[in-house]
Protein backbone atom coordinates (compact mmCIF):
# COMPACT_ATOMS: atom_id res chain seq x y z
CA UNK A 1 0.00 0.00 0.00
CA UNK A 2 1.25 3.47 -0.87
CA UNK A 3 0.74 6.31 1.58
CA UNK A 4 -0.78 8.63 -0.99
CA UNK A 5 -4.23 9.90 -0.11
CA UNK A 6 -4.87 12.15 -3.07
CA UNK A 7 -5.26 10.96 -6.64
CA UNK A 8 -4.86 14.06 -8.68
CA UNK A 9 -4.47 17.82 -8.56
CA UNK A 10 -7.14 19.75 -10.41
CA UNK A 11 -5.74 23.15 -9.62
CA UNK A 12 -2.49 24.39 -8.14
CA UNK A 13 -1.71 28.05 -7.63
CA UNK A 14 1.73 28.35 -6.13
CA UNK A 15 1.74 29.74 -2.61
CA UNK A 16 -2.02 30.26 -2.64
CA UNK A 17 -4.41 27.42 -3.31
CA UNK A 18 -4.66 23.78 -4.34
CA UNK A 19 -7.54 21.55 -5.28
CA UNK A 20 -7.15 17.78 -5.42
CA UNK A 21 -9.43 14.80 -5.68
CA UNK A 22 -9.58 11.49 -3.89
CA UNK A 23 -11.58 8.65 -5.38
CA UNK A 24 -12.84 6.04 -2.96
CA UNK A 25 -12.81 2.47 -4.16
CA UNK A 26 -13.48 -0.93 -2.67
CA UNK A 27 -10.00 -1.93 -3.84
CA UNK A 28 -8.78 -0.06 -0.76
CA UNK A 29 -8.35 -2.45 2.13
CA UNK A 30 -9.21 0.01 4.84
CA UNK A 31 -12.76 0.45 3.59
CA UNK A 32 -13.44 -3.22 4.33
CA UNK A 33 -12.44 -2.73 7.93
CA UNK A 34 -14.04 0.67 8.33
CA UNK A 35 -16.65 -0.71 8.58
CA UNK A 36 -17.57 -4.24 7.52
CA UNK A 37 -20.73 -3.83 5.45
CA UNK A 38 -20.57 -0.03 5.68
CA UNK A 39 -17.48 1.18 3.82
CA UNK A 40 -16.87 4.80 4.79
CA UNK A 41 -13.66 6.80 4.53
CA UNK A 42 -12.15 7.26 8.00
CA UNK A 43 -12.12 10.92 9.02
CA UNK A 44 -8.45 10.62 9.91
CA UNK A 45 -7.62 9.68 6.31
CA UNK A 46 -9.63 12.61 4.99
CA UNK A 47 -7.47 14.78 7.23
CA UNK A 48 -4.40 13.03 5.80
CA UNK A 49 -5.56 13.78 2.25
CA UNK A 50 -6.14 17.42 3.16
CA UNK A 51 -2.71 17.51 4.83
CA UNK A 52 -1.02 16.00 1.78
CA UNK A 53 -2.72 18.56 -0.46
CA UNK A 54 -1.72 21.34 1.94
CA UNK A 55 1.73 19.92 2.61
CA UNK A 56 2.61 19.94 -1.08
CA UNK A 57 1.21 23.48 -1.38
CA UNK A 58 3.39 24.59 1.53
CA UNK A 59 6.45 22.65 0.35
CA UNK A 60 6.21 23.93 -3.20
CA UNK A 61 5.99 27.51 -1.94
CA UNK A 62 9.49 27.02 -0.52
CA UNK A 63 10.85 25.10 -3.48
CA UNK A 64 10.67 21.86 -1.45
CA UNK A 65 13.76 22.98 0.44
CA UNK A 66 12.07 22.33 3.80
CA UNK A 67 10.82 19.14 5.35
CA UNK A 68 7.18 19.99 5.98
CA UNK A 69 5.40 17.98 8.66
CA UNK A 70 1.87 18.10 9.97
CA UNK A 71 2.23 19.70 13.37
CA UNK A 72 -1.23 20.40 14.67
CA UNK A 73 -4.89 20.37 13.75
CA UNK A 74 -6.41 23.16 15.82
CA UNK A 75 -9.87 22.59 14.37
CA UNK A 76 -11.61 19.89 12.33
CA UNK A 77 -15.33 19.47 11.76
CA UNK A 78 -17.08 16.75 9.80
CA UNK A 79 -20.59 17.08 8.44
CA UNK A 80 -21.12 13.71 6.78
CA UNK A 81 -19.45 10.56 5.50
CA UNK A 82 -17.98 9.49 2.16
CA UNK A 83 -18.56 5.95 0.96
CA UNK A 84 -16.96 3.62 -1.57
CA UNK A 85 -17.60 4.99 -5.06
CA UNK A 86 -17.60 8.61 -3.93
CA UNK A 87 -15.17 11.29 -5.06
CA UNK A 88 -13.89 13.77 -2.51
CA UNK A 89 -12.62 17.18 -3.58
CA UNK A 90 -10.05 18.76 -1.28
CA UNK A 91 -9.61 22.53 -1.38
CA UNK A 92 -6.74 24.04 0.57
CA UNK A 93 -5.85 27.71 0.96
CA UNK A 94 -2.49 28.80 2.31
CA UNK A 95 -3.25 31.48 4.91
CA UNK A 96 0.12 31.94 6.62
CA UNK A 97 3.67 31.03 5.70
CA UNK A 98 6.81 31.83 7.66
CA UNK A 99 10.24 30.30 8.11
CA UNK A 100 9.10 28.03 10.96
CA UNK A 101 5.97 26.68 9.27
CA UNK A 102 2.59 27.42 7.75
CA UNK A 103 -1.16 27.36 8.29
CA UNK A 104 -3.78 26.25 5.78
CA UNK A 105 -7.57 26.32 5.69
CA UNK A 106 -8.69 22.99 4.32
CA UNK A 107 -12.10 21.82 3.15
CA UNK A 108 -13.39 18.54 1.74
CA UNK A 109 -16.43 18.49 -0.52
CA UNK A 110 -18.63 15.61 -1.58
CA UNK A 111 -20.92 16.25 -4.55
CA UNK A 112 -20.55 19.98 -3.98
CA UNK A 113 -21.51 19.79 -0.30
CA UNK A 114 -19.08 20.65 2.48
CA UNK A 115 -18.06 17.42 4.18
CA UNK A 116 -15.13 18.53 6.31
CA UNK A 117 -13.64 21.83 7.39
CA UNK A 118 -10.27 22.01 9.13
CA UNK A 119 -7.35 24.20 9.98
CA UNK A 120 -3.94 22.58 9.73
CA UNK A 121 -0.62 23.85 11.06
CA UNK A 122 2.56 22.61 9.41
CA UNK A 123 6.05 22.93 10.83
CA UNK A 124 9.31 23.08 8.94
CA UNK A 125 11.67 20.59 10.52
CA UNK A 126 14.95 22.07 11.59
CA UNK A 127 17.12 20.88 8.71
CA UNK A 128 20.30 20.31 10.68
CA UNK A 129 18.53 18.25 13.35
CA UNK A 130 16.38 16.42 10.82
CA UNK A 131 19.45 15.51 8.82
CA UNK A 132 21.07 14.05 11.92
CA UNK A 133 18.02 11.90 12.62
CA UNK A 134 16.74 11.03 9.16
CA UNK A 135 19.64 11.80 6.84
CA UNK A 136 19.65 14.31 4.01
CA UNK A 137 16.88 12.59 2.04
CA UNK A 138 13.60 14.47 2.09
CA UNK A 139 11.41 11.72 3.51
CA UNK A 140 8.33 13.97 3.48
CA UNK A 141 8.29 14.78 -0.20
CA UNK A 142 9.01 11.39 -1.63
CA UNK A 143 8.99 11.01 -5.38
CA UNK A 144 5.79 8.98 -5.06
CA UNK A 145 3.94 11.83 -3.41
CA UNK A 146 5.41 14.51 -5.62
CA UNK A 147 4.49 12.35 -8.59
CA UNK A 148 0.90 13.51 -8.10
CA UNK A 149 1.95 17.10 -8.72
CA UNK A 150 4.31 16.12 -11.54
CA UNK A 151 1.45 14.29 -13.26
CA UNK A 152 -0.81 17.33 -13.02
CA UNK A 153 1.94 19.50 -14.51
CA UNK A 154 2.49 17.03 -17.35
CA UNK A 155 -1.23 16.92 -18.06
CA UNK A 156 -1.44 20.71 -18.07
CA UNK A 157 1.44 20.89 -20.53
CA UNK A 158 -0.23 18.31 -22.75
CA UNK A 159 -3.49 20.28 -22.73
CA UNK A 160 -1.62 23.45 -23.63
CA UNK A 161 0.11 21.67 -26.48
CA UNK A 162 -3.22 20.46 -27.84
CA UNK A 163 -4.71 23.92 -27.47
CA UNK A 164 -1.85 25.36 -29.49
CA UNK A 165 -2.55 22.86 -32.21
CA UNK A 166 0.75 21.07 -31.81
CA UNK A 167 -0.48 17.76 -33.08
CA UNK A 168 3.03 16.43 -33.07
CA UNK A 169 3.16 16.72 -29.28
CA UNK A 170 3.02 13.70 -26.98
CA UNK A 171 -0.29 11.82 -27.05
CA UNK A 172 -2.62 13.58 -24.67
CA UNK A 173 -3.93 11.41 -21.86
CA UNK A 174 -7.72 11.36 -21.59
CA UNK A 175 -7.80 13.73 -18.66
CA UNK A 176 -9.62 16.70 -20.10
CA UNK A 177 -13.09 15.53 -19.12
CA UNK A 178 -12.21 14.66 -15.57
CA UNK A 179 -10.33 17.92 -15.06
CA UNK A 180 -13.32 19.88 -16.30
CA UNK A 181 -15.59 17.86 -14.04
CA UNK A 182 -13.42 18.77 -11.10
CA UNK A 183 -13.95 22.38 -11.97
CA UNK A 184 -17.39 22.06 -10.49
CA UNK A 185 -16.11 21.43 -7.01
CA UNK A 186 -18.09 23.03 -4.25
CA UNK A 187 -21.07 22.95 -6.54
CA UNK A 188 -19.92 26.07 -8.34
CA UNK A 189 -18.63 26.26 -11.90
CA UNK A 190 -14.97 27.22 -11.93
CA UNK A 191 -12.60 29.04 -14.16
CA UNK A 192 -10.30 26.76 -16.12
CA UNK A 193 -7.69 25.18 -13.87
CA UNK A 194 -4.15 26.39 -13.69
CA UNK A 195 -1.50 23.91 -12.71
CA UNK A 196 1.68 25.89 -12.48
Amino acid sequence: MRWIWIDKFLEFRSGEFARAIKNLTLAEEHLHDHFPGYPVMPASLIIEGLAQTGGILVGEAGGFAEKVVLAKIPRAEFFGVACAGDQLVYEVTLTDLRSEGAVVEAKAFLAGELLADAEIVFAHLDNSRANQIFGPKNFVFTQQLLGVLDLAKAQARAREAVAQGQSQAQPVPAIGASAEGGGEANGQPREPQTVA
Partner: protein
Amino acid sequence: MPTYEQIFEKVQATLVDALGVDEEEVTSNATLQGDLGAESIDFLDIVFRLERNFGIKIPRGELFPENLTADPEWIADGKLTTKGVDELKSRLPFADISKIEEDPSVDKIGDLYTVDMLVQYVQSKLSTS
Protein backbone atom coordinates in the same frame (compact mmCIF):
# COMPACT_ATOMS: atom_id res chain seq x y z
CA MET B 1 -3.39 52.32 21.27
CA PRO B 2 -5.42 49.62 23.07
CA THR B 3 -5.15 49.28 26.85
CA TYR B 4 -3.51 46.38 28.65
CA GLU B 5 -6.97 45.02 29.45
CA GLN B 6 -8.10 45.18 25.82
CA ILE B 7 -4.96 43.38 24.65
CA PHE B 8 -5.36 40.84 27.44
CA GLU B 9 -8.89 39.98 26.30
CA LYS B 10 -7.70 39.42 22.75
CA VAL B 11 -4.72 37.33 23.90
CA GLN B 12 -7.12 35.36 26.08
CA ALA B 13 -9.34 34.61 23.06
CA THR B 14 -6.23 33.69 21.04
CA LEU B 15 -5.14 31.17 23.65
CA VAL B 16 -8.65 29.72 23.97
CA ASP B 17 -8.56 28.99 20.23
CA ALA B 18 -4.97 27.79 20.11
CA LEU B 19 -4.97 25.60 23.21
CA GLY B 20 -8.60 24.60 23.57
CA VAL B 21 -8.71 25.88 27.16
CA ASP B 22 -11.54 27.68 28.96
CA GLU B 23 -11.48 31.45 29.13
CA GLU B 24 -11.41 31.35 32.94
CA GLU B 25 -8.17 29.37 32.88
CA VAL B 26 -6.37 32.09 30.92
CA THR B 27 -5.46 34.39 33.78
CA SER B 28 -2.74 37.00 33.59
CA ASN B 29 -0.20 34.94 35.54
CA ALA B 30 -1.05 31.54 34.03
CA THR B 31 1.96 29.79 32.53
CA LEU B 32 1.51 28.59 28.96
CA GLN B 33 3.01 25.16 29.49
CA GLY B 34 2.37 24.37 33.15
CA ASP B 35 -1.11 25.86 33.56
CA LEU B 36 -2.49 25.88 30.02
CA GLY B 37 -0.87 22.69 28.72
CA ALA B 38 0.87 24.25 25.72
CA GLU B 39 3.38 22.06 23.90
CA SER B 40 6.26 23.31 21.79
CA ILE B 41 4.27 23.08 18.57
CA ASP B 42 1.53 25.24 20.10
CA PHE B 43 4.03 28.11 20.28
CA LEU B 44 4.11 28.22 16.48
CA ASP B 45 0.31 28.24 16.36
CA ILE B 46 0.19 31.04 18.96
CA VAL B 47 2.63 33.14 16.91
CA PHE B 48 0.48 32.73 13.79
CA ARG B 49 -2.67 33.70 15.67
CA LEU B 50 -1.15 36.72 17.41
CA GLU B 51 0.14 38.01 14.08
CA ARG B 52 -3.30 37.58 12.52
CA ASN B 53 -5.34 38.89 15.46
CA PHE B 54 -3.21 41.95 16.15
CA GLY B 55 -1.84 42.65 12.67
CA ILE B 56 1.74 42.52 13.91
CA LYS B 57 4.87 40.85 12.59
CA ILE B 58 6.70 38.56 15.00
CA PRO B 59 10.22 37.76 13.80
CA ARG B 60 11.39 34.20 14.36
CA GLY B 61 12.65 33.67 17.90
CA GLU B 62 11.63 37.08 19.17
CA LEU B 63 8.64 35.97 21.27
CA PHE B 64 9.73 32.40 21.94
CA PRO B 65 13.53 32.30 21.67
CA GLU B 66 15.16 29.16 20.36
CA ASN B 67 18.21 27.36 21.73
CA LEU B 68 18.04 28.95 25.16
CA THR B 69 20.07 26.12 26.61
CA ALA B 70 22.40 25.59 23.68
CA ASP B 71 25.48 27.33 25.04
CA PRO B 72 27.34 25.28 27.66
CA GLU B 73 28.35 28.53 29.35
CA TRP B 74 24.72 29.20 30.21
CA ILE B 75 24.07 25.88 31.97
CA ALA B 76 25.90 23.99 34.70
CA ASP B 77 24.56 20.96 36.56
CA GLY B 78 21.04 21.47 35.29
CA LYS B 79 20.96 25.08 36.45
CA LEU B 80 21.34 28.36 34.65
CA THR B 81 24.59 30.15 35.29
CA THR B 82 24.70 33.92 35.88
CA LYS B 83 25.52 34.26 32.21
CA GLY B 84 22.54 32.11 31.34
CA VAL B 85 20.21 34.22 33.49
CA ASP B 86 21.57 37.37 31.85
CA GLU B 87 20.93 35.80 28.46
CA LEU B 88 17.33 35.11 29.46
CA LYS B 89 16.90 38.69 30.62
CA SER B 90 18.01 40.03 27.27
CA ARG B 91 16.04 37.55 25.15
CA LEU B 92 12.86 37.53 27.26
CA PRO B 93 12.55 41.20 28.25
CA PHE B 94 8.89 40.83 29.23
CA ALA B 95 9.26 37.74 31.39
CA ASP B 96 9.40 37.87 35.16
CA ILE B 97 13.00 36.71 35.54
CA SER B 98 12.93 37.08 39.34
CA LYS B 99 11.32 33.62 39.52
CA ILE B 100 14.23 32.00 37.74
CA GLU B 101 16.73 33.95 39.83
CA GLU B 102 15.20 32.31 42.91
CA ASP B 103 15.33 28.85 41.35
CA PRO B 104 17.57 28.73 38.25
CA SER B 105 16.71 25.11 37.37
CA VAL B 106 16.61 24.60 33.62
CA ASP B 107 13.18 22.98 33.83
CA LYS B 108 11.79 26.21 35.24
CA ILE B 109 12.51 28.15 32.04
CA GLY B 110 9.12 27.12 30.66
CA ASP B 111 7.40 28.89 33.56
CA LEU B 112 8.65 32.22 32.21
CA TYR B 113 6.18 32.03 29.33
CA THR B 114 3.06 33.51 30.89
CA VAL B 115 -0.07 35.16 29.57
CA ASP B 116 1.17 38.46 31.01
CA MET B 117 4.41 38.09 29.05
CA LEU B 118 2.43 37.72 25.83
CA VAL B 119 0.28 40.76 26.62
CA GLN B 120 3.33 42.90 27.37
CA TYR B 121 5.06 41.71 24.22
CA VAL B 122 2.03 42.57 22.05
CA GLN B 123 1.72 45.92 23.82
CA SER B 124 5.32 46.77 22.94
CA LYS B 125 4.82 45.69 19.31
CA LEU B 126 1.70 47.80 18.97
CA SER B 127 3.36 50.83 20.50
CA THR B 128 6.21 50.72 18.00
CA SER B 129 4.12 49.94 14.92
